[in-house]
């Protein structure tokens, strides 16, 4: 090929303006193929993962069908497996964690986005990001040695004395259980709510706030009644993200939840979560049905987090684009 080409290749991904041979010779086609293979491998691995989960749970899907989600008996001796206690435990602990984490997280995000001067906001956000990086097993460690005794000796009795008429706070107090797991999870997911909500709140255009203030609202009113609703979708998205994280947590939960497949209204009761039972029983499930039932639980967890993550992303993107698109004053 001549050393000078008459056509200037375009800068973007489209490379159709040069011949295949010239691209090959200049190494671009090889580069394209190599990088394509790596990118394709990501897709292939993901497909393989979904396939393994689906294939690996064929026995219980055929044997139990939808009853898998309605039965609460988990009996390896009589080969009866029902997912209800684990789904219940997973959802209850996630719910408890959100009840704590959402007010705390949104409150902190409002502070960071609205009140704090930029440098303080950035510094605090830095610490929040570090908190998000703390691994699950460390939360579990603190859960076992700090949270459980605290729950058993102070918090659970206090709750029982004041709110004991509610079915949630009745029954024997072990220190472990749904409430403890929910509290530990709350600490773990709050950073996610804070960092995403803060970004979303920061992206709300200033004219919204200023319009509210100019109409005579107090700072809080403008925040709570104008800015936050504007960013509502994104904040919802952050909650979904947090929820997805809470659902999939394994170590911290199994160390404090009590590992008993129980469905109980009382939050003091021990329980079980999907991730915890998989962690405890996968390597020892002797019958095929037992093993595959655990895989089916994994599939359920995967689907739940998949849907939540997808929704979260949509909501967050929608909000930040909306804020950016409307322009700043």
């Amino acid at each position: 090929m001549a050393t000078t080409t008459t056509i200037v290749p375009s800068a973007g991904p489209v490379v159709g303006s040069r011949s295949f041979l010239s691209r090959l010779r200049e190494g671009d086609e090889i580069a394209r193929i190599i990088t394509f293979l790596f990118a394709a491998s990501v897709v292939l691995i993901t497909l393989l993962l979904v396939f393994e989960l689906w294939q690996g749970s064929v026995l219980p899907r055929h044997k139990f069908g939808f009853n898998f989600f309605r039965t609460s008996v988990w009996d390896p001796i009589f080969d009866q497996f029902g997912a209800l206690p684990f789904i219940y435990g997973t959802l209850v602990t996630a719910l408890v964690s959100l009840l704590i984490a959402v007010p705390l997280g949104i409150g902190a995000a409002i502070f960071l986005a609205e009140l704090a001067p930029p440098r303080i906001s950035d510094t605090l956000e830095f610490f929040i990001d570090l908190l998000a990086a703390v691994p699950s097993v460390i939360y579990g460690l603190l859960g076992v040695f700090v949270v459980i005794p605290l729950m058993r000796e102070y918090i659970q009795p206090a709750l029982k004395n004041t709110l004991g008429f509610l079915p949630f706070f009745q029954g024997p107090m072990y220190g472990m259980g749904f409430l403890t797991a929910g509290i530990v999870l709350a600490i773990m997911v709050t950073p996610y709510i804070i960092s995403v909500s803060r970004e979303v709140l920061l992206s709300v255009p200033r004219d919204q706030r200023e319009a509210a203030l100019s109409l005579g609202s107090t700072h809080w009113e403008s925040t709570w009644k104008v800015v936050v609703p504007f960013a509502r979708a994104g904040i919802m998205g952050s909650i979904f993200l947090a929820l997805a994280r809470a659902l999939g947590e394994t170590m911290a939960v199994t160390m404090v939840i009590g590992n008993a497949p129980v469905i109980s209204a009382s939050l003091f009761s021990p329980g079980y979560s999907i991730a915890a039972i998989i962690a405890n029983e996968l390597t020892e499930a002797t019958s095929n049905l037992h093993y595959q039932s655990l895989i089916e639980l994994g599939l359920v967890l995967f689907l739940l987090t998949f849907i939540l993550n997808g929704l979260a992303r949509l909501l967050i993107v929608a909000t930040t684009q909306r804020g950016g698109g409307m322009g700043n004053a």
Partner: protein, 283 residues
Amino acid sequence: MNSRLRWRKFVSRFMLTMTGVCALVSVSVLFFILGHLVYHGGTSISWAFFTKLPAPVGETGGGMANAIIGSAKMLLLATLIGVPVGFFGAIYLAEFSGGTTAFVVRYAADLLNGVPSIVIGIFAYSIVVLPFKHFSTLAGGFALGLMMIPITLRSTEEFLRAVPTALREAAMALGASKWKAIVTVIVPAAYRGILTAVLLAFARVAGETAPLLFTALGNRFWSPGWNQPTDSLPVAIYRYAISPFEDWHRQAWAAGLVLLVLILVINIVARAILSRGIAVPRS
């Protein structure tokens, strides 16, 4: 009128103070965790902790040397798997691909990112441990590497995209072929961001425990090569924390401190790299 306004102002001050309290509570958790680990684990960190193997059950004086090395080996393997796939995949997405392929790859990466770590463990167990008939460092590193891929991929892609088109066009104008432009101009321009992404992905998987339960199992001795079970810091913490032995509890605290300090340091360094020099001006 006035009293109503006073009330609204009071509410405003009160609620805003509460948000400050929320922020304070959230941030102080980090220092609480760190403080606790330093207090309980600091006294147990000793030379023995870093150099000795575990002692038999009920005896004191063992260490976690093999767990530390085991973690290091698996993280190395995870990086060797996760970083190239993420890096080159991101180059494809940012430089070569068309719209649909890019969408599919990104979607798959996001899906993979959202998979709970226990499910990654199931996957690694069924495609590495069972066929090879071995719990191994390889299986553990594979599981961790899978978790690094999507983080590295998406972040690298973003930083590559943020490189201004002007730089690309300049390279082309000087006669560079596409791959040369990528290697000599674009990647170095995004270098800081990519390094940050890699470090953050590394820190993220360094603390993962669940996938290792089914893949690396555990090992009371040194784990030779790559095809044998191995101990790791997070799994050792878990095992020791739920045991009844005081000595093991102390070691769990110490290990927790080491692990957390490692992760925090990597996080801080990564953010420092990113913030210090933006070689990539935001376009």
